[in-house]
Symmetry: C2
Amino acid sequence: MIVRGDIIFTKEATKFTIFEDSYLLIDEAGKIEGIVQEIETGREYTDHRGKLIIPSFVDLHLHANQFVNCGLGNDEELLGWLEKYTFKEEVKFKDLDYAREIYKLVLNRLWEAGSLRSVIYASLYTKTTSLLFDLALESGLSSYIGKVNMDRNVPEYYSETTEESLAGTREIIERYGQISHLIKPIITPRFVPHCTSESMAGQGKLSIEYNVPVQSHINESKKEIEWVKSLHPEALNYSSVYDEYDLFGEKAPALMAHCLHNTKEEIELMKKRQVYPVHCPESNANLSSGIMAVKKMLEEGLPVSLGSDISGGHHLYLPYQMVLAIQLSKMKGRLEDDMSHVIGLPEAIYMATKSGGSFFGKTGSLETGYSADFLVINTDSLMNIKEERSIKEKLEKFIYIGSAANIEARYLEGKLLEKPFKE
Amino acid sequence: MIVRGDIIFTKEATKFTIFEDSYLLIDEAGKIEGIVQEIETGREYTDHRGKLIIPSFVDLHLHANQFVNCGLGNDEELLGWLEKYTFKEEVKFKDLDYAREIYKLVLNRLWEAGSLRSVIYASLYTKTTSLLFDLALESGLSSYIGKVNMDRNVPEYYSETTEESLAGTREIIERYGQISHLIKPIITPRFVPHCTSESMAGQGKLSIEYNVPVQSHINESKKEIEWVKSLHPEALNYSSVYDEYDLFGEKAPALMAHCLHNTKEEIELMKKRQVYPVHCPESNANLSSGIMAVKKMLEEGLPVSLGSDISGGHHLYLPYQMVLAIQLSKMKGRLEDDMSHVIGLPEAIYMATKSGGSFFGKTGSLETGYSADFLVINTDSLMNIKEERSIKEKLEKFIYIGSAANIEARYLEGKLLEKPFKE
């Protein structure tokens, strides 16, 4: 398969690689064979001349059960927001009919947004989590999906026992661990304050036993960090609690959302283990959490990536997160009087594609050997009379003022993806 | 005229005034007579039950000639951005055909966004500025429009003499000063570094002679402030340069965009003169300028209002500015370790309606005696199955995740406004 268009991606964090009016060659396994300027006369190709061909987006942190709450409760901080808005919505997912309707919307919106790969917090309930697996398998998208574990410090109406956490997690892994290379389970302790030591120890063992990766939250708000300290006074820091229970990237890959208040020791451990710090700028801004040191962490060689974190964030559409990541880095630079914090558009795209994509293997770039996961972007509606723009400027306009409506086609592993569900 | 619906507005900065399923009474002059729970049986009304009725938005700072650049050049700071992107676009407005096309789009987008009142930087060119007046008069919207004056430190290809600045400004005021209560001229020195003392003195005199208000920029970036200091070493601060030339609210009202790095003395002077600080959060974030102390300035009793500042900001649609204003206030609070900086949704709406609206007289609120400027908001498309929301929550969802498509009708002075121009 061959696709013709203006190809742009971020091989490196700080600059774009651009092939004007070129051909993307894709092999039968859905991998990229290369990019060429010319092909033999007569060879067939899909013609997207004048349109951008960019890697599809990777959303490494979102809560499917909070989708309905997007845009609500933003005058609260993290812990109040959980109690007043979030748990009350998540508990509704005991009802499978309700869950089915919302999950279909979430998968449709991920498809629309061009976030063809994602890592998802599903439900406390094992049956509901299974339902999301079934729908995700049907959708054609690629996701890691986690049954959310929470067996302490949660309201009685929305809780489970340690045994239920571990049995549910095992059940999900056994049922869905080996049936698709696109949809996979991920071990999901909600965060330290919501999981007993027994639960965390059990989850760590499951991760090793089945070689399943881990996702959680870390160092999001100062009150949360104090809480963790009071629960685990013996621990050196927040990370070492996860690490104690084999949940911090030693035996299996780990994703950690937020990472706003990491200590130097924690950064060192994350580097050693190549833990993914998932930056969720909209959520961090809405919940007054703070601003991640994105640029420094990228320079340290950490695989910093992006997450919409709905409904802490209110937009599933990742370009909003990219723009806000850039803006917040500038504000951190200005307010801390250190402009070396500032990132630009390349870093934002890199986090949302190649960096996040590496969690799935060779995905998120359009280099040879990578999975042919890409979007076709038509920027015509963003251009005014007499407006002629370079490829980079077209991409900039798409990210800043475009919308999902500018995404004309979505390809995963070289195959055109249609909208998953009827609405 | 009577309109029925869920009425919500901000009489005060910090809280909503809500009338559930009520009737808004409007007199023949287009002013609000009151809000009642019941009317006599048989009286006719426009039925917007289940929809929100909110004040229309007021955008107090935008550059019509930069519209095409929205979303471009955001990896630059203010002064580089002016040279590399902005002047090159603005100079194109010498071509009246080009200007006509773009101005129609700007007015259409203001209408779509529900920003029915605005204060606009038009063009350096007097003929082009006249054209915007003519189109604005045709549009039915309400605006103050300024011919942009800049007679020093600008590129030769995009400049004018002091005489041209003053003659052009006088010509605009004489032609458009008295022909409409909706469309009015405003004196517009671009900013201190771009206007000679002679030009500023002349503009101040015109402001007094014709009783015309003034708009400009102030204290946006630190480099700009140093530049002003080097140009006017005798001045106490940036504000006192404007004040020296009667451009700072003593004789006629003044609007000052940005106000990021005001000194205590400048705040005092602004209070005394009731100068409008116009907060442009998206622009301030994009150009790495900093974060305005919105909450403190509101508490000081200053009429802080909102501006899209396109194309420093990339969205003309004001709810994006409201959300970012909230988010940036939280980041300022967190990074400066002083959470008293934080504003919530009420303050954001207040700035975009009643506070900004006061520049036009009694507009921007739905209190008795105010101009009946309002929007009808249909939030159905933002609600999912089984989702029942309060009036405040509906408004929150509209501001955070809604779009212009949720605005079902726009009324100015009690009259339904249709889209100004065909596209």
